[in-house]
C-alpha cells in the first residue's frame, strides 16, 4: 500500500490549519470591533464557504487561480509557476473551505470574554499586546483550541474543492479523499475500503480530542 495520499493529506491539513488558526483569530478579533453594518456584511462573506458546496468554492478558486485567469496568469508570468494542479494547490482550497470553522469558533470564544478583564488590565498599566496574549487568549483558550482541532479534522476530509483545484495525480496531488474516489471508480473496492478505514480512524481520534476539550470547559 502506497502511503503517499495519507502523507499528502496530513501536510495539506497541517499547513491549512496553521494558516486558518492565525487568520481566523485575527479576523474574529478585528471584525468584532467594526461598525455593525460592515461587521454583518463581512460575517456573511467569511462564513459563506461553510454553507456553499465545495465544488462552488473550487469553481470560484479556479476563476481566480487558473493559468489563464487574473492571479494565476500573473503568477505564471512572473514566477513561472502554475497555481493549480500542484500538491500545494489543495492548500488554497482547504484553507478557504475550513476558514469559517476557525473564524466562527474563535468569534464565539471572544464574544464570551468578559471585556472588563481587558479594561482592568489597561487601568493596571498592562500593554495591549500583554492583554491580548496573556489575558484574552488564555481565557478563550479552550474555544480556540477546539476550533483549531475541528478545522484540522475538516481539512483532512476536504474533497470537492481539492479535486477541482489540485486534481488527482497519483503520487503528486492524491489525497486520502481523492484516492478513495479513484479506487472506487476503477473497481478496487478492497483498497478503497482500507483507505476509508484509515480516514475514519483519523477523524474519530480528532473528534474525540475535540470532545475531551469541550468537556473540560
Amino acid at each position: 500500500m502506497d502511503w503517499y495520499p495519507l502523507y499528502n493529506s496530513l501536510r495539506i491539513a497541517v499547513i491549512s490549519a496553521v494558516i486558518v488558526f492565525f487568520t481566523g483569530i485575527a479576523a474574529a478579533y478585528y471584525i468584532a470591533k467594526l461598525p455593525r453594518l460592515i461587521k454583518g456584511a463581512l460575517d456573511v462573506v467569511l462564513t459563506l464557504p461553510l454553507v456553499l458546496p465545495p465544488t462552488v468554492v473550487g469553481y470560484l478558486l479556479l476563476c481566480l487561480l487558473g493559468p489563464r485567469r487574473t492571479v494565476g496568469a500573473w503568477v505564471l508570468e512572473t514566477f513561472g509557476a502554475r497555481l493549480t494542479m500542484q500538491w500545494w494547490s489543495a492548500v488554497f482550497a482547504v484553507t478557504v473551505v475550513v476558514f469559517p470553522l476557525m473564524y466562527r469558533t474563535a468569534r464565539g470564544a471572544f464574544e464570551s470574554f468578559d471585556e472588563d478583564l481587558a479594561r482592568a488590565g489597561k487601568t493596571l498599566g498592562l500593554s495591549n499586546s500583554y492583554i491580548f496574549w496573556r489575558i484574552r487568549m488564555p481565557c478563550c483558550r479552550q474555544g480556540i483550541i477546539a476550533g483549531a482541532v475541528l478545522s484540522f479534522a475538516r481539512a483532512i476530509g476536504e474533497y470537492g474543492a481539492t479535486s477541482m483545484v489540485a486534481g488527482y495525480t497519483p503520487g503528486r496531488t492524491a489525497t486520502v479523499a481523492t484516492e478513495v474516489y479513484q479506487l472506487w471508480r476503477i473497481g478496487n473496492d478492497a483498497l478503497a475500503l482500507r483507505w476509508v478505514l484509515v480516514n475514519i480512524a483519523i477523524s474519530a481520534v480528532v473528534l474525540l480530542a475535540v470532545n475531551l476539550l469541550e468537556r473540560r470547559r
Partner: protein, 352 residues
C-alpha cells in the same frame, strides 16, 4: 485632587458631569443608568468624552481643547470593577503582580508580598479567584490595584453583588482601606446608606447631568432638588407653590405648610421624610388625615394616610412608626399629624 469637567453624547443620552474631589471620599450618587459608570470610564480613559477636561493632581489626563488624551495605562487611576475583574487563569499572587507591571521582577515580588500582608491574603497566594470567597475576591482586587500605587481610586458599586451580612463586613474593611489610602476616592453608588457611611461629599447625577456637589450631611438635611431628595430616601412629595419666604401651598396634600428654611423662588415641590411625620397635633403645620392602609414592616408600622388633597397617588402621606407606638394609638380611623417646619424640605427641579 481630581477635577472632572466632561460632556459626552451616547445616542439620545447626554452626559454632563462636573465635580472636584478635595481629599476624602466623594460619592457619585444616582439611579441606575444615569451615567455613573460611564463617568468612571471617562476618568480611567476607557471611554473618551466629546468635550472637557480631567485633571489629576496637576496632571492633565484629558483635555479636548489641547488634544490631551492619556491612555489608561499612563493615568495611574485605580479602578475597582463591579465584579472585580480578577484574571481567572492567574493565581492570587499573579493577579497582584499583574498590577505592578512597571516594576523590575524583584521589586514586583516585594510589592506582591506587601499587598498580601496588607490585605490579609496570607496562605491564599496560590489560589485562583474562583476558589476565593466574595470578600477575599474584593480584597484581592484592591491589593492588585494598590500594587500599582494609583493616585486616585474609582469604586464602581463595590457591594452590589453581595448579600447584606457579607456586605457589612466588607464595608468595614473597605473603610479601613480607604482610611490608609492617601489619594482621592470616587465611589459610585445608588445606595444612600452606603454613601452616608463611607463618603464625605456627594455629587448627585440625574439622567447624565450632575448637580453641584455638597456634603453628605447637607444632602440628607436639605437635598435641594427633587431627584436628590429621592436618592436621599425621602418618600413623601407634593407639588408646591411659594406663598411667602416661609410658607408653601402643597397642592397634592391640600394644605399650607410653614417652613423653617427660606422657600426658594423656583420651588416646585416639598418633601417630608416618613419618620418626620408625628401623629400628634401641635396647632401649626397639622394635617387632618384618614387612615387608608396599615402595613406591618419587619420592625415598624407603615401607615398610609389620605390628606385633604385626596386619597390616591401623591396625595397620600406615608408615616412610619415603631410597632409599639402605633399600637399605643389604638388603631384610629382618623388621625391628625404634625410636620415640624424644620422637616419641610422645599425642593426645586422636576420629578413630582
Amino acid at each position: 485632587m481630581l477635577q472632572v469637567n466632561i460632556q459626552k453624547k451616547l445616542g439620545d443620552f447626554r452626559l454632563d458631569v462636573h465635580f472636584e474631589t478635595g481629599g476624602g471620599v466623594l460619592a457619585l450618587l444616582g439611579a441606575s443608568g444615569c451615567g455613573k459608570s460611564v463617568t468612571l470610564k471617562c476618568i480611567a480613559g476607557l471611554e473618551k468624552p466629546d468635550k472637557g477636561r480631567i485633571v489629576l493632581n496637576d496632571r492633565v489626563l484629558f483635555d479636548s481643547e489641547r488634544r490631551v488624551d492619556l491612555p489608561p495605562q499612563r493615568r495611574r487611576v485605580g479602578y475597582l470593577f463591579q465584579n472585580y475583574a480578577l484574571f481567572p487563569h492567574m493565581t492570587a499572587a499573579e493577579n497582584i503582580a499583574a498590577g505592578a507591571p512597571h516594576l523590575p521582577p524583584k521589586e514586583r515580588q516585594a510589592a506582591v508580598a506587601e499587598q498580601i500582608r496588607a490585605f490579609h491574603l496570607e496562605g491564599l497566594e496560590k489560589h485562583r479567584p474562583h476558589q476565593l470567597s466574595g470578600g477575599q475576591q474584593q480584597r484581592l482586587a484592591l491589593a492588585r490595584i494598590m500594587a500599582g500605587d494609583p493616585e486616585v481610586l474609582l469604586l464602581d458599586e463595590p457591594f452590589s453583588a453581595l448579600d447584606s451580612y457579607l456586605k457589612w463586613q466588607l464595608e468595614l474593611e473597605l473603610m479601613d482601606t480607604l482610611k490608609s489610602f492617601g489619594g482621592d476616592v470616587v465611589f459610585v453608588s445608588h445606595d444612600r446608606d452606603e454613601v452616608c457611611r463611607l463618603c464625605q461629599s456627594v455629587c448627585v447625577l440625574t439622567d447624565g447631568t450632575s448637580e453641584p456637589q455638597e456634603t453628605v450631611r447637607r444632602l440628607m438635611e436639605a437635598p435641594g432638588t427633587v431627584s436628590a431628595a429621592l436618592l436621599s430616601g425621602c418618600k413623601n412629595y407634593s407639588r408646591a407653590e411659594r406663598l411667602d419666604d416661609h410658607t408653601v401651598r402643597c397642592g397634592d396634600w391640600g394644605v399650607t405648610l410653614r417652613t423653617a428654611a427660606e422657600v426658594p423662588a423656583n420651588v416646585t415641590a416639598v418633601g417630608v421624610r416618613a419618620h418626620h411625620i408625628v401623629p400628634i397635633a401641635a396647632g401649626e403645620n397639622d394635617i387632618p388625615c384618614t387612615v387608608v392602609r396599615v402595613i406591618e414592616d419587619a420592625f415598624s408600622t407603615v401607615v398610609m394616610l389620605a390628606t385633604p388633597g385626596g386619597n390616591t397617588g401623591k396625595s397620600l402621606l406615608r408615616l412610619e412608626l415603631d410597632r409599639g407606638r402605633w399600637a399605643a394609638l389604638g388603631g384610629p380611623d382618623r388621625l391628625t399629624v404634625h410636620i415640624a417646619p424644620e422637616q419641610v424640605m422645599a425642593l426645586t427641579g422636576g420629578g413630582v
